[in-house]
Amino acid sequence: MSEKEVKSLEEIFEARIARDEKIEPKEWMPEKYRKTHIRQISQHAHSEVVGMLPEGNWITRAPSLRRKVALLAKIQDEGGHGLYLYSAAETLGISRDELIEQLHSGEAKYSSIFNYPAVTWADMGTVGWLVDGAAIMNQVALMGTSYGPYARAMVRICKEESFHQRQGYEILLTLCNGTPEQKEMAQDSINRWWWPSLMMFGPRDADSPNTEQSVKWKLKRKTNDELRQAFVDQTVPQANILGLTIPDSKLKWNEERKHYDFGDIDWNEFWQVVKGHGPCNKQRIDARVKAHKDGKWVRDAAMAFAEKQENKEVKLAI
């Protein structure tokens, strides 16, 4: 294809997206669109999967059967979300194996929030409330994205997410209405998770170079800062109902802006964790690699069994 032909194909392509048409697998797309989508969708998939680790840590120690079944169901959902997203990425011509290899080698990223440890039961509440809450804000915005399989995965995921946040909030509500020690445990948890949750929306708009292209392709309907502000506005009243204090001395309602003002995020910490120096980066990847390695004989045995059955059928047919 000549450069001129590619250029005109690109123009047609961009115009289709501008008209709110969806792009489907196997249709022509600019290489950059394909690459950006593989990167973003797989990063999203890896986050769902790695995100199961901090919560998995608490399944056997859930304080009641009710909490245990809810936590199990939530974690199972996250595994499903990983699957929907891996499948969506695979429609762009990359294999599941390659995707997993990229996670294990560190080439692909996942949400930094999962590099923080879940050290108390209250963290199961805070993760559901804040982490899933922040994820929902991002994901709702993506339901209208331009790549069909990604948009459809988002619709399904958003339907399942709302119980995640509610079960987390209920855990905190129970702790906050409990003994002083329980309430303190809840407060300690929000103290640790608040800032990392705000970081989930990514760098400031001024430091986020891809925004314009992403807006065009509807990978971003709102900027990082807009989503972060919406999250803060939504979350502060919820913290008040719990009677918990958000650990930010600058947090204050701004009557003029009709938004909460809030303090500065420690971007140095953010980049440290992104670059692999968070409290649990190594532990998370090691756990994934180990699970994949330890599961190899099961995958092989299942395949060997399937092949044996098939050969049997062929013999019977002859």
């Binding site: 489907e24 196997k26 249709e27 022509w28 169901a73 199972q76 959902d77 499903g80 699957l83 929907y84 499948s87 695979e90 294999s95 599941r96 194996d97 995965a153 399904r156 399942e160 995958r299 092989d300 299942a302 395949m303 060997a304 069994f305 399937a306 092949e307 059955q309 098939e310």
Partner: protein, 93 residues
Amino acid sequence: MKNWPLWEVFIRSKNGLEHRHCGSLHASDATMALENARDVYTRRMEGVSIWVVPSAQITATNPENNGETFEPAMDKAYRHPTFYELPDELKHM
């Protein structure tokens, strides 16, 4: 050892409706594909029947040929009821 092949999953959400494509998954054989589809796609009673089809078995139109494939239908307005001009007195036809 070969990787588990890809399967497409179709779900009938309730009797009276058709099966509808809802996603895909990897599984070593059809039985496992059905079990995984149940676990992933019907955890909240989204279905009463599941089909799984090996993705490699699907033959699809090529989007690059969408012109030849679908445009011939575009200039055949006479296939639609509004093409026919009938008097207003005539109701319900």
